[in-house]
């Protein structure tokens, strides 16, 4: 398999924790794959996602995305990596309330120094694809949960990252809206977007991922390929 993400013996131990949040995890995710990381609350799945995203540093082991070893990057290097290599979708959207939909989506492109014209073109494209073009000048507080998550997805994709990370993307949404967002992620993956999805919902994992990695107490308990 042509691996985009490679984790080797990754351990994460917090200062106050007696046992590691993630222990000796080794896994790979290939280009264009959709993988679900599943487990109960507190199992370490979000920590694993943070390590892949470069939001946190492992206590041991190595994390590679593409040709970069994330665990060795400086803070600046990690920030640059996040801009270009990953897009992150959070359970509670993490949109900036005082910025419009357009400004929220444009932010990663602006931080990367992408030209204004190119960024605007990408914005228009994403808002159209995600069906939120009419909200481009609205503030997040005025949007529904589903619309906010679409904005978050647009922001995650604005720099065309090879890897999309989604941490409980439907956790704060009602069932119907959750379905919509799930379908959207499925479409993105179908279009070639590599996706790692963290969820505690087995049905969601089974439906939207081609491979499910089950984590228990910070360790990989099983790797399942849904039928």
């Amino acid at each position: 398999m042509d691996a985009l993400v490679q984790l080797s013996e990754v351990t994460k131990r917090y200062d106050d924790g007696k046992s590691p949040a993630v222990a000796h995890v080794t896994m790979q995710v290939g280009h264009g794959e959709a993988v679900a990381v599943m487990g109960p609350s507190g199992s370490g799945k979000s920590t694993l996602l943070n390590l892949i995203a470069g939001l946190d540093r492992p206590s041991g082991g190595t994390v590679r995305v593409g040709d970069q070893e994330i665990s060795k990057l400086s803070e600046t290097g990690a920030a640059r990596f996040r801009r270009r290599q990953v897009g992150i979708i959070f359970q509670f959207f993490n949109l900036l309330d005082d910025m419009t939909v357009a400004d929220n989506v444009l932010l990663p492109a602006q931080l990367s120094g992408v030209s204004a014209a190119k960024a605007r073109a990408r914005l228009d494209e994403l808002l159209a694809v995600l069906r939120i073009a009419e909200h481009r000048n609205a503030y997040p507080a005025r949007l529904s949960g589903g619309e906010r998550q679409r904005v978050a997805i647009a922001r995650a994709l604005v720099n065309r990252p090879p890897l999309l990370l989604a941490d409980e993307p439907t956790g704060a949404l009602d069932t119907a809206t959750g379905e919509e967002i799930g379908e959207l992620l499925l479409d993105l993956n179908a279009a070639g977007q590599t996706l790692i999805l963290v969820t505690h919902d087995p049905a969601l994992a089974a439906r939207y991922a081609k491979r499910v990695i089950r984590i228990v107490d910070g360790q990989i308990a099983a790797v399942v390929t849904p039928v």
Binding site: T76, A79, R82, I88, D98
Partner: protein, 786 residues
Amino acid sequence: MRAIRTALRGGLAGRRVQALAIGLVLLASAAASTLAAGLLAASNAPFDRAFAAQHGADAALTVNAAKASAGELAATARLFGVTAAAGPFAEATVTASAAVPDTPGVVFQAFTLAGRSSPGGPVDDIMLTAGHWPTGTGQVVVSRELADTGSGASMSPGTVITLTAVPGSPKLTVVGVGVSVTNTADGWVLPAEMTALGSPLAGQMLYRFASAGSGAAVNAGVAAVRRALPAGTVLGAESWLAVKAQENESILPWVPFLVTFGVIGLVMSVLIEVNVVSGAVTAGTRRIGVLKSVGFTPAQVVSVYVLQVAVPGVIGVAGGAVIANLLAAPVLGPASQVFGVAPQSIPLWVDLAVPLAMLALAGIAALVPASRAGRLSATAAIATGRAPRPSRGYAAHRLLGRARLLPRPVTLGLAGPFARPGRTLVTLAAILFGAVAVTFGTGLGTSLNRVGADLALAGTEHVQIGLAGQSGQQPAPGQPSPAVQQADMAAVIRAQPGTRHYVTESDDRFGVTGMAGTAAVTAFGGDASWIGYALVSGHWYGVAGAVVNTSFLRATGKRIGGTFTLTDDGRAVTLKIAGEVFLPGNDPQVLTNLSSVVALDPSGTSPQMFYVSLRPGVNAQSYQNAVFAKLGPGDYHQLSSGSGVLLQIISGLVLILTLLLVVVAALGVLNTVVLMTRERVHDLGVFKAVGMTPRQTITMVVTTVAATGLIAGLMAVPAGIVLHHAILPIMGNGAQTGFPPGIYNVYNPAELMLLALTGLVIAVVSALAPATWAARARTATALRTE
């Protein structure tokens, strides 16, 4: 109660940075305001307070010890109306020279020595500011006035003074410096020393009277003493009111700027404290909602938050009071020196009242937002939460988001202040006050330097060489006559290669028609325009003309262009006022040509000194040594002014106070930015999650206050100049003088541009530490923060 305690403990433990910020800001505010209030207290009637503290003498009498016995003099202490008396202390006024390093040949024409066994006593405590009281003969404590400014060079313990006019020229080593609030002597020795000096007949009796509030009351007290002693015993008396008038003349010019710094310090402290404390409580609105949701009443919520401020606040104000007292020495010490009183400390009531007031203010600053949040419903409080009120700053974000020329972190930072306009305005005010202090302090420092240069006639490198027998005294036996001295000296000065210009100077006092008292008249024996006396207005005098000081114009009611008449023993000379010369003080002074006034006193207007300007590059001391060597032995001596030392002290004080205010402003900004970054830590996490680098994070956080600082700095320049131009005339009024235009016009364009950046520098430097913290914060941790 237990619930409040639990919530309080949780609030303090969970918000350690916030508690630290509150503690720090109260520490800085309490220190600054205590020091500022101490400065204001020190500037309030310093002479009166020093007089009370040191049991100043209402009257200092010089008595003829040969006319009354010690018992008779001691008995005057029990006279009706006399509440305390000290003496008799043997007194002698002698000529002395001091061996001050780098300033040889310093002569004191009238050095008043008093014999006292100790510095204390019922009247006129001598406060020692350096060294110790004489423990044996050959030792002297000199007055601080003499030590600091009397010789133009500082005298300190170890300096040797030679009593040149006393047979055998005995030497006294300075062992201490002391302050007598009523200036009863220039130096103090042990009584045995006075005996060794030749048993002077004069003695000093010091009295405090039950009533001494007016000249008449003091005179009545003196008269009662005079009556009780044999006729002719009392040779002279000096009232404390005369000393007070003289001291106030030197105090009044400096009070306005000290009060200005004190007020700025107080206002700034209050602003910063209210800003940080109310901001900290507002940031806890979400937690207030949570507390209410579990059953806390509004009163309990308010109690928790007021206590949450009070705990670090008490520690902060206590530390602030300690720091203020530690800083009191370098700040109040020079202030006391300027006022000519003994070293002052922060009054106890200031030490207690000001920190408590700052604590109370913090309580109120916490009470208001806590009450407001406490009145919200639990859900509303939770919803309001950490975020600023919806819609605030949105437009700014939107507009700045379109500014393509600026990097995105900069535009994000620039939009930040609009989210909390109230806090931004108070931060702006705090920086503004700090920057105003810098503009004002810089201008004042330059003005004082120019005052010093003008008074020292520093435009030319010069020396003044006095002739023996000046001030009407006859030359001592063996000394050449004034005419011979003048001719000899003129010949030597003319022949000296370093001489550029020279002119003789005669000083005398003459009556002025229409003015009470006399005016000091300085008459130059030739062109003296090159000396460089600064003119407030008008021009240098010509034939039959004169320049006069502000005090003269006020005393006579004359104006430039008008005429006045000098009188002496029935002779009169009328002169035209060509200009107003910068010579502070309430003594009317006239500068003119010797030929214009010679008719007033044909026999008594012989020159008393030569004023010599030197060629560029000529060393004054070498020149003087060469002249003295050629003149040979005699009583020629160097004359110099001591005003430079006082101005140096004041300039140093201005610098210290300016720096203190800048530090307080910077601490205020730092704490504000700390709270701001703590409030927005989740947003910071989001920024970083989408790719904001540490450098971009620092840029964004610093820019959040940079624009505020820049605006404050731009506003501070005109405000500081206005303050400078408003305070200087008040100071000049206290010194009985107008100022030359050059004293006001002290700001040059390049300096103004730098001063305009002061606010920006304060803001950026203060924000760097919290910005760096924000850049280093772990993204995952920041995202988890509520």
